[in-house]
Amino acid sequence: MRILLCIIAICVLSFMGSRWSFSHFHLPRFAVQLYLTGSEFIIVGILLGPMFLNVLSDSVLSALHPLRALCLGWIGFLFGIQVDASLFKKFPREYLRTALYIPLAVTAVVFFPLMYLLETTLSLSGNLLLISTLVLSFAAANTAPSSLAIFQKTNDLHRSPLLTLFRFIAGIDALPGILATGIAGAIVSIPLTQGSILPSSLTWLFIISITGLLMGGIIVLLMDSDPTNQELTVFLTGIIVLLGGLGFYFHQSCLYMAALTGIVVGNSRYGQRLHEIAAVPERTIYILLLILAASSIDPQTAFHPGLIIAYVMFRLAGKFIAGSTAVSFWGRWPLTHRSVGLGLISEGGLSIAMAMTLQQIIPGTLSDAIIALILATVFIHELVTPYTLQYVFAKAGKL
């Protein structure tokens, strides 16, 4: 009974919340940012969770796993469908170079200090330490496009090349992180072959990659027979739910599989139409994800303040160093000054999805701590993003 009522409560909160929170309010800049990005649902989720109202108790959350898998798959698919290779040709080559360099540089900066920190604070070792560090450092490289869009709209920066570059980077910088979740799942999964872990992991990575690509191919094949929008929605839901279920079943990354499916579809001639269809429930899915992620953690034990502060600092340093070194290597164009990386601070749904995927791959208290870490940093980064963007654009003389 409670499970069913919770589904309703979550759905109602989601679809009504998507309307209310994404509309404009006259509030301080940081509060507007939180409202517009829907980050307040992190608090709603924590309140609904086992520590407070206990509406979403542990057993309820366990039963809601299919919904969670659906949300993760949908977010992965939406990301993948936006990775359109034909768009790369429309932008200067320097954009692509910068967009590839910055996330890798951020990851490189964050990786080793984070590994040390995870080892000391959460007592991690071996594969768990490796995959946690891998996913978290790649997640640190990720930028939320929604914050950039809000800044662009509120400051009327529609023709700013710097903001266009930022949005270009934000459109693809989650790709290494999503791949990292795929690798993480392959490493810790059930062994398929005897002996060394490497053949088994590679086999798993191959299987899930083929599955993701095959599903994309199947969708494209279906598109050739000109289905209606309603039929497409059913088919797409079926594919995403299936990938979500498989990921959950085999402890693999449905985010990775769905992203691959999205990439195949996005680069077909039907990409635009499918993107429009998949984007319809985007806000609802995003809020559902926030609520489910936040309610699944125990705030009293999962939050490690030291770890959170250190991660925020590592990420800030990573973004700054990545931007600064890019300017050193290739000059001030298209970047404008050395602290330009601070404009890429915002963090959102994909980082949370990566953390939740990690939880799906390695369930337990460790992944709860990682989700708490990401949720806290998303909240902090959304608070500071308007100010860092303001600073970066003022320094570039664009405001």
């Binding site: 309703i8 898998a69 039929e231």
Partner: protein, 442 residues
């Protein structure tokens, strides 16, 4: 052709994954249920295209996919997954109820009130008497009871059961064929209204029957009273929900399809909560009927508010996945071994029902001065049976265990047969009436 290729690809791929899954079954029932959910949606949708090619209804394809993938045939969907996905049944039934209510257009119904009344009362009586007489004459072994009174009770219950139809199948077929017109409106009006009567009638006869079989038991007036009250309260709540739907569509109008699905689900759960509450407080089985609530809500929102168009659009958007999942899960639950063992008796029973139903419908329609061409077709539209009929058999088995297990089993077999054949006949009748494809044009 391409869809056939996709279907083959998906089947091959899922077979490949099943090789892995076998070793890890029972570990994650939620995960297995999620996979089943996805597979049903995909296979059902794709297979329906193939069925359409051979002029069969899509819901027959959904049923077939569920049946084949279900625990009684290929076991791709196991019993645990079926249990995990049982909430979809409730959600879908209420959704279909809402769709049925929203499809009923008051001004059209007023025009067809005469044939609807005639088909319900005259048609129903002729069918009932036809069934009763024929079954008495045939004297089938599974109907025989130790006493003449018990035999008569069984005959009456079976004849009432034969009157039950499947509103969900009717709505799904009408939606699939885009049928619109006086014939369609009459079929829907009769099917929906008659179901409410059948539930009531069956409860009354069961209650009286129990006292006939065992004179120590008196007719349960409280049970009957609470049943009537439950239906009345359901009507009132449904009207309130109809106005609430209108408020939402006019004031918020956001994520409408999610709203509709959440609402129908909430209604189902609300009914359950009320039942528990009344039972705890007064020890009475007071049941609200979620489907009636949704039906009335849809009817009120369509006919008494300004929200008819957005409601119909939202229902249209959500209908395909709901139908695929609902009918495929229904198919998965069908125990084909019952049909295998009792097919010959089930065929006789269904044949008697078919003839009686057609005679009754023809008599009712002719009396209402419906065109002779349509009078011949009404009987074909009333054959399909599903959820309500299964529910009635379950009720009968629970209340009259002394009547024997074979009776219930044969009736289930007959319902399965009607569930498979009914939609095909219904679609043919709608096509022959010339009202298919009118909805888009109109």
């Amino acid at each position: 052709m391409k869809r056939l290729i996709i279907l083959i690809l998906l089947i091959s791929w899922s077979t490949f994954f099943q090789l892995f899954m076998r070793d890890y079954s029972q570990v994650f029932p939620e995960a297995a249920a999620t996979i089943s959910f996805g597979l049903i949606l995909l296979m059902g949708y794709l297979a329906s295209d193939l069925f359409v090619l051979v002029k069969l209804p899509r819901i027959t394809a959904y049923l077939a996919v569920g049946l084949v993938m279900g625990p009684y045939v290929l076991h791709t969907i196991d019993f645990a997954s079926l249990k995990q996905l049982s909430f979809i049944d409730q959600l879908a039934l209420n959704f279909i109820g809402l769709a049925a209510g929203a499809e009923l257009h008051l001004s059209e119904l007023k025009k067809k009130i005469k044939p609807i009344t005639s088909l319900i009362f005259v048609g129903g009586s002729v069918t009932f008497l036809g069934m009763l007489t024929t079954l008495r004459i045939l004297n089938l072994s599974f109907l025989q009871q130790p006493t003449p009174r018990a035999t008569l009770l069984v005959l009456v219950l079976c004849s009432i059961l034969a009157l039950a139809r499947s509103p969900s199948s009717v709505i799904a077929i009408i939606s699939e064929t885009n049928a619109k017109g006086p014939f369609t409106e009459t079929v829907m009006g009769v099917t929906v209204t008659l179901d409410v009567f059948i539930i009531l009638l069956f409860a009354i006869v069961s209650s009286i029957g129990a006292s006939i079989l065992n004179p120590e038991i008196s007719v349960d007036i409280i049970f009957l009273g609470s049943m009537v009250l439950g239906i009345l309260v359901s009507f009132i709540i449904g009207a309130g929900v109809g106005f609430f739907i209108s408020f939402y569509f006019q004031r918020i109008a956001s994520e409408t399809i999610f709203f509709v699905l959440a609402l129908v689900f909430l209604i189902a759960r609300f009914s359950g909560v009320v039942h528990e509450l009344v039972h705890d407080l007064y020890h009475i089985d007071f049941h609200l009927e979620p489907m009636i609530i949704c039906l009335v809500a849809g009817f009120v929102a369509r006919n008494f508010t300004q929200s008819a168009t957005p409601l119909l659009e939202a229902i249209e958007k959500g209908s395909l996945p709901v139908y695929v999942l609902f009918f495929a899960l229904t198919g998965a639950k069908l125990d084909v071994s019952i049909l295998k063992n009792f097919w010959h008796v089930a065929v006789i029973f269904s044949l008697v029902r078919f003839i009686s139903m057609n005679l009754g419908a023809f008599a009712g329609a002719t009396l209402a001065r419906e065109p002779i061409r349509l009078s011949r077709l009404y009987g074909l539209t009333f054959i399909t049976q599903a959820g309500v009929s299964f529910g009635l058999v379950k009720m009968m088995n629970a209340q009259f265990s002394s009547l024997g297990e074979t009776l219930g089993t044969v009736l289930i077999a007959a319902i399965i047969l009607n569930e498979v054949i009914g939609p095909i006949l219904l679609k043919s009748a709608l096509v022959m009436s010339g009202e298919t494809g009118k909805k888009q044009a109109g």
